[in-house]
């Protein structure tokens, strides 16, 4: 078998070599050189340019038609709605720019394809024209900057709501721990030197505020319509707390605490009934059925979005957005850190 393959390859090489020889020999006989671009070439390539543009644009719209419904569902947070609006406005703008400029590029390539009978127009510059396409983008960008920064400042401002829920997201290779302040409403101080098997987030034993803190893994609950302030920490390398459904993201950096605040405005139950989500989950479950997997229900997720090591691709936590009552009930069933630690 191997011998046969080898033989075939050798024969192919010989055939190719002979073919190239013929081509090389025939070079001298032709008037135009192979590399010279003829009118036929220009005509052909110009038309292919136009054809490519059409295919390209069709591909663009085909993708949108087919895949846009697989985008993340509409934002489930107050500021996320603003981001979505700004996103759509910017997206429409750049889609128009993309289509128009690519159109002119390929249209000109087609229209002005070379012809030995024609001569190009000597046209070196036009200050007015250049001024226009300097000023127009500048003005458009000014609007983008103004709106972008307005929202950015609001999103990044400190959490002010006295009724806010403070949650610590603690990242390590390769899982997340969420820490809720207990009844005292205060998160205890931490010290990485005190990390042990039972004190996985390094609570400072000298700070009593930590005694009633609640630590959860795999699944955390937050209440709807209240400001959530995430205090994000890391034990080892940089991770990134990415909560795409809430349009929230912030890196977890060892040695410092980073913050992100948001107000979830749809409970998990409500989100599961959202028409967009229902349709999206149908698509997902159809694909899962094909692969012989169980159907699943929608859940909010926390992912790691900064390369953090070998299991970066599997560092997740489910987030359940509850009604206020359900949240309180859930929190009450969680054990305080101290009782857990003492038992261990």
């Amino acid at each position: 078998m191997n011998l046969l393959v080898l033989l075939a390859i050798v024969l192919l090489i010989i055939a190719g070599h002979q073919l190239l020889k013929i081509i090389e020999l025939s070079r001298g006989l032709k008037k135009t050189k192979e590399w010279q671009v003829t009118d036929t070439d220009n005509n052909m390539m110009g038309k292919v340019m136009l054809a490519f543009m059409i295919v390209f644009f069709v591909f663009f719209f085909w993708q949108i038609e087919r895949w846009i419904d697989r985008s993340l569902p509409p934002a489930a947070s107050v500021h996320g709605k603003l981001i979505d609006q700004l996103w759509d406005a910017n997206m429409y703008l750049i889609t128009v720019i993309f289509l128009v400029t690519n159109f002119f590029l390929f249209w000109f390539a087609y229209k002005y394809r070379g012809n030995s009978k024609r001569k190009a127009v000597y046209y070196a510059h036009n200050n007015k024209l250049e001024m226009i396409w300097t000023v127009v983008p500048a003005v458009a960008l000014a609007f983008i900057i103004i709106f972008g920064l307005k929202y950015w400042n609001e999103i990044m401002a400190d959490a002010k709501d006295p009724n806010k829920v403070v949650v610590e997201l603690y990242a390590k290779q390769f899982d997340w721990t969420a820490r809720f302040p207990g009844k005292d409403g205060k998160l205890g101080e931490s010290d990485y030197r005190q990390i042990t098997g039972s004190n996985s987030v390094g609570l400072d034993s000298t700070d009593v505020a930590g005694n009633d803190d609640v630590l959860v893994k795999n699944e955390m609950h937050i209440p709807v319509n209240r400001e959530i302030e995430l205090n994000i920490r890391s034990r080892d390398v940089i991770h990134s707390a990415y909560l795409p459904h809430f349009r929230a993201q912030m890196n977890a950096v060892p040695g410092m605490i980073t913050y992100f605040k948001f107000i979830p405005n749809k409970t998990t139950v409500e989100m599961r009934k959202d028409p967009y989500t229902v349709k999206m989950m149908d698509g997902i479950n159809k694909q899962r059925a094909l692969n012989g997997k169980e159907p699943i229900e929608f859940d909010y997720l926390l992912l790691c979005n900064k390369i953090c090591g070998v299991s970066h691709f599997n560092m997740q936590m489910t987030i359940i957005v509850d009604t206020e009552a359900d949240y309180t009930k859930w929190l009450a069933t969680q054990k305080a850190y101290k009782t857990v630690a003492v038992k261990q």
Partner: protein
């Protein structure tokens, strides 16, 4: 004995060149002619061939991880054949090796192909030839520049063959992941080799850049004023300045990381518990690393892009048979982009915990850079307007470059807006953006340069039809690879995931990933057409005439022989700008720069 008359700036060169001219290179030994050559044309070829080899390696890596992303867990004999039983057991890619491959793919493409390969090849080839100089200001430093590049390439490739695998913390090598061997196997010896390789690379880049700057400033031929320079030279000059100002910062960035790794300092490390014990390091910050890294990292984007844009200016003007539109605006744009590129680095760091107010400043500066970029794109399109377009393979790639520059550029407007960046930061939306705007544009520019200046590099012509085939495969498959990635980003898929199958929410994206991988495989195979054309034409292509594209710039006035010193006899005198194509009142549709201005004729450059 022909005594070359020079602008008087390279006396010692003359002594060196004299015997070369008379004896037609015969006296040089093989080693000094082809290996340790100080001739910029030879060095340019060395850079190009090294870069082609590196590109093949990096592209093959991408095919391996694309197979994994489309069909996670499937067995591929191809993967096993390339990676062996350790990293590709039963043909399944090891997750650590996956991270190593994306890391080395990125590193090679950004630094070794698109920085070393692109600038190294075309700055070296074109700066002396287009400004009318006998060689670089220092041929010796230029030679060193290549050999440092070679050594760093060898070290980078060698790191792929060590026990724990190569560096695998991503091409941006953020510590602590890259600093702590406990964090990932790639941060053991692999990371050390990466850092050594990059340090040597930086030396190579600096030696090259200094030479480019000095040559452009000091060794221009008589009459070659700065505003008569082809735009390619302007682009190479600004690129070199960016390199000189930013690469030393990467060097210090890497040096501090070496200290943290090897000498237990704490520049980037603080409050870390890993491998079952707390580390002593206190007070450092990974954010510092990110600042230092991106202070190089962002100018680096333009170090990659500007030469490609410069090449496109030449190729589009020549093959449109029209002057480049808005020559002075183009120079202004290059300089504006160069300047702004130094004050935008923070847009890589909106989500890092950097002060959000600082983020606002970077939003502003980053969006500003869209203005000169837009000017450039519009000027290319206007250059084609009412032209007489000659579709050489180089022209096709230059048009492809303008398309990808726009297509990838517009999504930059989204990502530069910190508010919008929140949700797509580090997702496939970013991967799509920078591969199209930087990867595709730069590689298209590089291909355009190779097809256009192949006659100058190897004195032969490349095959046109194979060039056409190569272009159409490349552009369709490249868009097929990177366009769908936007939609993965919209669905919230993070970068550098070994597989998406642990998240049921990504289950409906399988077909997108399959399309991407199919296109990547076909696109990669399409490069075989180029490789064949390249190496075949190098030895057996048709002999090139002196000026095959009827171009104006000085490199087409040199004889079709490799002479050390470029021009036999006197250096040319320049009388006009490089863009007198289809000038009214001229017999031909091009007027080389060496043709004196007729009485009453105005020079187009605005003199």
């Amino acid at each position: 004995m022909a005594t070359p008359i020079n602008t008087g700036l390279e006396k010692d060169h003359l002594v060196h060149h004299d015997h070369v001219h008379d004896h037609d290179d015969h006296e040089q030994s093989f080693v000094s002619k082809y290996v340790f050559s100080m001739d910029h044309k030879v060095i340019s070829r060395q850079f190009l061939i090294t870069a082609v080899i590196m590109a093949v390696v990096a592209m093959t890596m991408s095919v391996i991880f694309r197979l994994q992303l489309a069909w996670p867990g499937e067995k591929f004999a191809f993967v096993n054949a390339l990676l062996g039983d350790k990293w590709g057991k039963d043909g399944i890619l090891d997750p650590n090796m996956y991270l190593a491959l994306v890391t080395i793919h990125g590193t090679i493409m950004v630094f070794f192909v698109l920085t070393g390969g692109l600038s190294g090849t075309f700055s070296n080839l074109l700066i002396p030839l287009q400004v009318g100089a006998r060689d670089m200001a220092s041929g010796f430093l230029n030679m060193l520049s290549y050999w440092f590049f070679f050594v760093s390439s060898v070290i980078m490739l060698a790191s792929c063959f060590i026990q724990d695998g190569p560096a695998s913390a991503g091409w941006t090598i953020y510590p602590p992941l890259s600093a702590l061997p406990e964090a990932i196997p790639g941060s053991k010896l692999g990371m050390t080799m990466w850092l050594i390789s990059m340090a040597i690379f930086i030396i190579s880049s600096l030696l090259g850049s200094l030479n480019y700057i000095i040559t452009v400033i000091n060794l221009r031929a008589k009459g070659m004023t700065m505003t008569r320079l082809p735009l390619s030279i302007w682009a190479f000059l600004v690129t070199a300045i960016l390199g000189v100002l930013s690469f030393p910062v990467l060097f210090s960035c890497a040096l501090l990381l070496i200290f943290d790794r090897s000498f237990n300092t704490s520049f980037y490390l603080s409050d870390i518990y890993i491998g079952g014990r707390p580390l002593d390091n206190v007070g450092g910050s990974p954010i510092l690393f990110e600042h230092l890294f991106w202070f190089l990292g962002h100018p680096e984007v333009y170090i990659v892009l500007l030469p490609a844009l410069g090449i496109a200016s030449e190729v589009i003007a020549t093959n449109s048979r029209k002057p480049i539109f808005g020559y002075r605006a183009m120079i202004g744009s290059i300089m504006a982009i160069g300047f702004l590129s130094f004050i935008v680095w923070g847009h890589h760091m909106f989500m890092t915990g950097m002060n959000p107010f600082l983020g606002s400043v970077f939003v502003f500066t980053t969006l500003l850079i869209a203005i000169p970029s837009a000017v450039k794109a519009f000027n290319y399109i206007t250059t084609m307007w009412k032209g007489n377009l000659q579709f050489t393979p180089a022209m096709l790639f230059a048009i492809g470059l303008v398309s990808s520059f726009i297509t990838g550029g517009v999504t930059g407007i989204i990502l530069a807006d910190s508010t919008l960046d929140i949700n797509v930061h580090d997702t496939y939306f970013v991967v799509a953006h920078f591969h199209i705007v930087m990867g595709l544009s730069a590689i298209f520019g590089m291909f355009a340069g190779v097809y256009h200046w192949f006659p100058k590099l190897f004195l032969r012509m490349m095959n046109k039809k194979l060039g056409y085939l190569h272009f159409w495969i490349t552009i369709t498959m490249a868009y097929g690879v990177f366009f769908p990635m936007h939609f993965l980003g919209l669905a919230g898929v993070p970068r550098r995931y070994y597989t998406n199958s642990n998240f049921p929410m990504f289950d409906n994206l399988v077909d997108i990933n399959e399309i991407v991988t199919y296109c990547a495989i076909i696109g990669a195979l399409g490069q075989l057409v180029f490789l064949f054309n390249f190496f075949y034409s190098m030895f057996r292509g048709e002999r090139a005439p002196q000026n095959p594209w009827n171009a104006n710039s000085l490199e087409w006035t040199t004889p079709m022989a490799h002479i050390h010193g470029n021009w036999p006899g006197e250096l040319p005198t320049v009388h006009r700008w490089a863009y007198d194509y289809s000038k009214p009142g001229q017999a031909r549709d091009f007027v080389p720069q060496t043709v004196p201005l007729a009485e009453g004729e105005e020079d187009g450059g605005g003199h």
